[in-house]
Symmetry: C2
DNA sequence: AGGTATACTGACTGACCAGTCAGTCACCAT
DNA sequence: ATGGTGACTGACTGGTCAGTCAGTATACCT
């Protein structure tokens, strides 16, 4: 673990078409099972402290099997992040492109965040990225390229259009789209650290945030 | 590392009064040196992956010496967090209690954040807490009790006073003081993950945030 | 000088774990 | 049947590292 050369990327073994099911009827997708188990173990103990023996046990698989699907522990981690985060971005961009009043679009995005990230295991993946990213440049880069830069761009577009229509108080927001998503990040971090001391009502938090940005919500 | 009983707390060995200096004139405070080295190693590699051999080497000390000052690796981590974060809170509370216009107080707090946290190694400690906290309930609890709850209370007081004077747009903020500090957290996370792709001007970010909360800054 | 106390050292131990690989077994094709 | 294929297994290896402790060095006695 001192200085890895590394390069390869994980590949599924030959063909994983329905064939070769061993036990019961349902296709036992090893790859999915391993990824799910890895998410549990990594987010529970952190990358370094997680044991592949435990991942295997949780996935109902022998340790060697993991190495049929992923070249090593680090690649497993990377594929985990990719597989969980990847699919969400396009949907997000679509949401941000709709040409409706900014407040409405923002509300939809917030809903989506609460439902698809905060309400799922995806928030654990984001927490993992925050925690482990600094030590895994490839993860950080993937995440920046595939997620952050696209989110920032989409939000910027949304806000610029809103500013042109005079819907929004400041163009400062368009310079720092981070300000729009900041509470979401805080919620995720809070959830991981302090929820047992003082639970946080995310939906209310996000609503309050929108009120601050766009002014109080009018009842009508 | 599978299930630690643990209980003890670190104690300095007998008396560390000036006595017993070994080399040169200046008192070679082993404890400080070890804590400083631990901060480097922990924040660079994460708690689990950091090696106490490296901490010792960096501190210019043998590994055994660490165990004269700290009962084990975990206690070293806890003392590190305490020693770095602890001293700052009182100063923060003092800043928040001043009875001046809220905007002014907020600006001072932001300055303090940028200078004393973002501009120092303390931001690395906060990153460590975010990353490792979920796995170290004692750390999370200490941090909640000694920092978060006090910051939240102080900010709430500040905002309530401001709201009574009608200086502030929404009482939503007083319900969610998290919204006030969210950008600071985002800045720290961004700094650790994405600064090499897209550096973030923290001072400008925080200024923009204040403008959003209090309305544009009037030149006068 | 000898004696005692104690800060410090670093080689060592025991446990742990990523990654390996010879072997097993279900499922084919002939 | 018989042999071939390849997914899967899990005992094993080699390296790593937290924590230990017998020993050394230094200071301060008397």
């Amino acid at each position: 673990m001192a200085a890895r050369p590394k390069a390869s990327r994980s590949v599924r073994p030959a063909k994983t078409r329905g064939r070769r099911r061993r036990n019961g009827a349902g296709a036992p997708d090893r790859r999915e099972a391993i990824l799910a188990a890895a998410l549990d173990e990594f987010s529970g103990r952190g990358f370094a402290a997680a044991r592949l023996d435990d991942v295997a046990k949780r996935a109902g698989v022998a340790k060697g099997t993991i190495y049929l699907y992923f070249p090593d522990k680090e690649a497993l981690f990377q594929d985990l992040v990719r597989s969980v985060i990847g699919p969400l971005i396009e949907r997000f961009e679509a949401s941000a492109e709709v040409d409706l009043p900014a407040r409405l679009v923002a509300e939809r995005i917030v809903d989506m965040f609460v439902r698809e990230i905060y309400g799922t295991r995806r928030k654990d993946v984001i927490r993992l990225i925050i925690a482990e990213g600094p030590r895994f440049p490839e993860i950080a880069e993937f995440y920046y390229r595939e997620v952050i830069s696209r989110v920032v761009a989409a939000v910027r577009g949304l806000l610029r259009r809103a500013a042109e229509r005079g819907e929004i108080p400041a163009e400062a927001l368009a310079r720092f789209p981070q300000l729009l998503v900041a509470p979401g990040l805080v919620a995720i971090v809070w959830n991981g650290l302090f929820d047992r001391f003082e639970p946080l009502d995310v939906a209310a938090l996000m609503r309050a945030h929108l009120d601050l940005l766009f002014g109080e919500r009018r009842p009508g």
